[in-house]
């Protein structure tokens, strides 16, 4: 099948960005893009009876880079249990690669499995700029999917110095420089100030107004500075925020305070489930999904991904190192901590969410409540914070939970009831996601939130990333095994088999900045850093 032209004929098209909800029509592809029409004799892919959607877009996932690789190294038994022989590709000159799976698959296997799931774009959500070069190397070895990376800011020494000095403009220039130097796509904030405190020998911050080194620097100031910077730089995706107090009972108060602190500014709140807990630290747990999602519903400048917890194995892996310390201390499990010079941290603890565990059951329920109470699917999109809440391979099961109330209620009965009793979910949430809404939360919505105008839809000029599903009433089965997947006009999955594995593109931004910042940065590097200023950028910076 040639790359040049293809008519996907007769499928039920779900293209919510263009207002198409299941209309039967052809989708035409030429030279990697969607076009309005093709001559009759163009090659045809018969999609009658099938569901046609844009390729999936994962807004938040951990698939490449130094922290991910520390996690991989920690999991030999998972890899041994999930061998992945090389796929049989159509092109005899292609070099298909074997690998291993588990919660953190090897790089090639990651690309193949994302594509096999109908996903064609994914964002690596946490990269220390110092190690961005490594993340790019891994993404080069992650086939098929287009990928970008989020650069970790918010605990970095240079930024905190600018905030302490009241240098907002310089902080913005620096953010632009470091994002460019990392070859990044967006600014990621993880536990602002808290990681710095952990590295400095304190435990963590507890709220938005704790001093970080000096009274002039607080989580609040860090959030405001970076949110303003991202918006002033007109980045396609606003600041991507992992709030303070992740995983703590009662943390919904911090989450809401963070949202209020940034009122009126565009901001994306990631893995919201992990930040929507009521109750009291060390005492009690309950759901605060309703309070949090009501705030999101009422504030159009706010967006979120859910970070659903799925029962089964996971690997918790985050720059929020103090959280992993607590998880290690309470679980006694293997634990990796790596403090990353002048920038951030890294913590990893393998984990498993058990439906008979009270807190895991509550986390599961909270994620579903966020989905089911969200009024605008364009702003509350699907993620499991792979591999933190579960593997991306569990998305189909999650979709079934959202689409099939009968199934969901059955599952709810099977989980530990101690903490879910009395929650909105237990009271009965009737909502069932439609196929159109699933298309929004898995592709159209994330693409729009990321500002990827050529992705997540099937309008003329869009990237020809298309997934075609058999319309199976078992939605988990349907979404786990797409019949065909087309990436950039290339049919990568054919009749359910991975047949081609083209190289994916890298998505990055190069915001402008006042060059004066580089002189100051050079001085700071000379005084503090252990890598030369000249050697720091992972990608060529324009003159």
């Amino acid at each position: 099948m040639s790359k040049a032209r293809l008519r996907i004929a007769g499928g039920a098209v779900y293209d919510p960005a263009n207002g198409t909800e299941g209309a039967v029509r052809d989708v035409c592809i030429e030279d990697g893009r969607i076009v309005a029409e093709l001559p009759r004799e163009a090659p045809k892919l018969d999609a009658r009876g099938m569901v046609v959607m844009p390729g999936g877009v994962d807004i938040h996932s951990h698939i490449a880079g130094s922290s991910v690789n520390h996690g991989r190294r920690l999991l030999p038994e998972e890899h041994a249990a999930d061998p992945a022989p090389a796929p049989r590709l159509a092109d005899p000159d292609a070099t298909p690669r074997s690998g291993t799976g588990g919660t953190i698959p090897s790089s090639f296997t990651t690309g193949y499995r994302y594509a096999g799931l109908g996903y064609t774009t994914a964002m690596e959500a946490a990269v220390a700029p110092l190690a961005a070069r490594h993340a790019h190397c891994e993404l080069d070895d992650t086939p098929i999917i287009d990928a970008g990376l989020f650069a970790l800011l918010g605990n970095d020494d240079y930024l905190l110095r600018q905030i302490a000095a009241g240098e907002a403009a310089r902080a913005r220039d620096y953010a632009a420089w470091v994002l460019s130097a990392a070859g990044g796509y967006a600014i990621k904030i993880v536990n602002p100030g808290g990681v710095e405190r952990w590295k400095a020998g304190g435990r963590n911050v507890t709220g938005l107004d704790d001093a970080v080194g000096t009274d002039a620097v607080t989580p609040r100031r860090i959030l405001e500075t970076l949110a303003d910077a991202a918006n002033a730089l007109e980045l396609p995706h606003p600041v991507h925020i992992h709030c303070n107090n992740l995983g703590q009972a009662g943390n919904a108060a911090t989450t809401l305070e963070t949202m209020r602190a940034l009122a009126g500014r565009r901001a994306h709140f990631t893995h919201l489930q992990f930040h929507s807990y009521g109750g009291e630290r060390g005492k009690s747990w309950k759901s605060a999904a309703k309070e949090v999602i009501e705030h999101v519903n009422a504030h159009p400048e706010v967006s979120a991904d859910v970070g659903q917890v799925m029962f089964g194995p996971a690997t918790t892996l985050t720059a929020d190192a103090p959280v992993e310390y607590l998880l290690h201390a309470s679980s006694g499990k293997r634990w990796v901590n790596v403090d990353i010079e002048l920038e951030t941290g890294c913590g990893i603890v393998p984990y498993s969410y058990k439906e008979q565990a009270a807190v895991a059951a509550l986390q599961w329920a909270i994620g579903l409540e966020l989905f089911l109470l969200a009024q605008d699917p364009w702003r509350v999109v699907l993620s499991t914070d792979h591999p933190n809440g579960g593997s991306f391979l569990s998305y189909p099961e999650l979709i079934r939970l959202l689409m099939d109330r009968g199934y969901r209620d059955e599952r709810l009965k099977q989980v530990n009831q101690k903490l879910v009793a009395g929650s909105a979910l237990a009271d009965g949430l009737a909502r069932e996601y439609t196929l159109s809404e699933i298309a929004i939360v898995t592709r159209a919505g994330p693409a729009r939130l990321l500002g990827l105008s050529d992705k997540g839809h099937l309008g003329v000029g869009a990237d020809a990333d298309v997934t075609i599903y058999a319309n199976d009433p078992d939605r988990a089965k349907m979404f786990a095994t797409p019949r065909h997947v087309i990436k950039g006009g290339v049919v990568v999955v054919e009749e359910g088999q991975l047949r081609r594995a083209p190289t994916g593109r890298r998505l990055r931004v190069q915001p402008g900045y006042d060059r004066a910042v580089t002189r100051d940065l050079k001085r700071w590097f000379d005084g503090h850093a252990c890598v030369a200023f000249e050697n720091y950028p992972a990608v060529e910076l324009g003159a």
């Binding site: 061998p83 070069r133 020998g201 990796v336 901590n337």
Partner: protein, 419 residues
């Protein structure tokens, strides 16, 4: 002859990967590697390398050498691909692809530090990048290692001398303790020395951990020393516990539980204090070999592709399979000089194809030898510091063939041969 200088070059003479070297080139020779230590100067030397392409002892054209190599590998029943030092991550990636294609055993000198890796797979690790040790450490404990020997600028660049956020006065802001473990002496410039015998080492570490966890005190000699040191570490703000992960230069065999005891102690200290275990690794982008193997296969070393997918064989790696006579053809990529002696000797007993710096002069006489440049001197790309920080390489000279290109060309021939 014109002189020119390549600034900010990265030295791979040891795992410190100092990236502040100014390489002065005079004509086609390196005249000086400014800022580097004696070990680094020896690594750069004058930058001259042999430029041979040989097959069965005869000089041949590159195409002929590649064709011969592809033929030998294509017929191999139990091939080995070995990632030796002095190659970039790009070359390592290409070589792992060849191993995958061939269904070979993949291994590297990472097997020399297997005890530490296996321990970290059981327990995890408490670590930091070297620059964070510079910023934070107020107590540096050199556990049976004096970095001056094999990691000459470790102290001056990272752990001891430089100023940092929490060490504003550099050396004066830090306390340095040297633990002498038998002949493995801690740093010379220490504020305090503690001596233990190699036989007591693991017990001492376990005892210290118990003290940190609040479980024991005792009054034997070892107990007293261990209690004193553990107490100091608990009272510090940020401890750097430094040990040599490479095989002992004294030929001392480390206790199999040593690595795990060090990790366990470092982890336990995160609670009463902060602590990072700094595991010293040799140079030549050795750390890159295990990073690349990990991301491409899921395993850091001793990866067997024979079943058609990667399998972890930490106790049946290159040294073991060569020793048992199971390997018939080996592809060595990298510097023969960095290959552990047991593996190097065994490579002389099998058909070896060697691609890398100075392979034409390898003592084990490869059947096919294609000389390439040295990553960091003649070749660019990426290399990892011992703490997994990735750095760019800035070649000062042009070399013979580029290793990554040669390995990719070989891979292309193998693909064609099989289709």
């Amino acid at each position: 002859m014109t002189r020119r200088t390549v600034e900010h070059a990265t030295c791979l003479g040891c795992g410190c990967a100092c990236d502040d070297i100014a390489v002065v080139v005079d004509g086609d020779r390196i005249a000086e590697a400014r800022n580097s230590c004696p070990l680094g100067r020896a690594w750069f030397a004058d930058g001259s390398v042999p430029r041979e392409t040989r097959s069965s002892g005869k000089t041949v054209a590159p195409d002929v050498a590649l064709a011969d190599a592809a033929k030998l590998l294509g017929r191999a029943e139990r091939p080995l691909v070995y990632l030796a030092p002095d190659i970039s991550c790009e070359t390592q990636r290409a070589a792992v692809a060849v191993a995958d294609r061939l269904g070979a055993l993949l291994d590297s000198p990472t097997a020399e530090v297997a005890a530490g890796i296996l321990a970290s797979q059981r327990r995890g690790r408490a670590g930091a990048t070297l620059g964070e040790i510079r910023q934070r450490a107020d107590l540096v404990v050199f556990w049976g290692v004096d970095p001056a020997d094999r990691y000459p600028r470790y102290a001056s660049r990272y752990a001891v001398d430089p100023t940092g956020l929490q060490a504003p006065d550099g050396r004066h802001s830090r306390r340095v303790v040297a633990v002498d473990v038998g002949p493995s002496r801690g740093a010379a410039d220490a504020d305090e020395r503690v001596a233990i015998t190699p036989e007591d080492e693991v017990d001492a570490l376990a005892f210290m951990r118990a003290v940190v966890l609040g479980r024991v005190t005792g009054d034997g000699t070892v107990a007293r020393a261990a209690t004193g040191l553990a107490t100091q570490m608990m009272r510090a703000r940020y401890v750097a516990l430094v040990h040599d992960a490479e095989p002992s230069p004294h030929g001392l065999l480390h206790h199999p539980d040593r690595a795990e005891a060090l990790i366990a102690l470092a982890q336990a200290l995160n609670g009463p204090a902060r602590c990072a275990l700094s595991s010293l690794r040799a140079g030549g982008n050795r750390s890159g070999a295990d990073a690349v193997a990990t991301w491409q296969t899921g395993f850091p070393f001793a990866v067997d592709f024979a079943p058609g997918y990667p399998c972890y064989r930490p106790h049946a790696g290159a040294a073991v399979l060569l020793g048992r006579g199971e390997i018939d053809v080996a592809l060595l990529v990298g510097s023969p000089a960095g290959v552990p002696p047991a593996v190097a000797a065994a490579l002389g007993q099998v058909t070896t194809i060697a691609i890398g710096p100075r392979v034409s002069a390898a003592p084990f006489r490869p059947k096919v030898a294609i000389d390439t440049g040295v990553a960091g001197i003649h070749e660019g790309g990426i290399a990892f510091r011992m703490d997994d920080v990735p750095l760019p390489l800035r070649p000062a000279l042009s070399g013979p063939s580029v290793a990554a290109d040669v390995v990719r060309a070989l891979a292309a021939r193998l693909t064609k041969g099989q289709s």
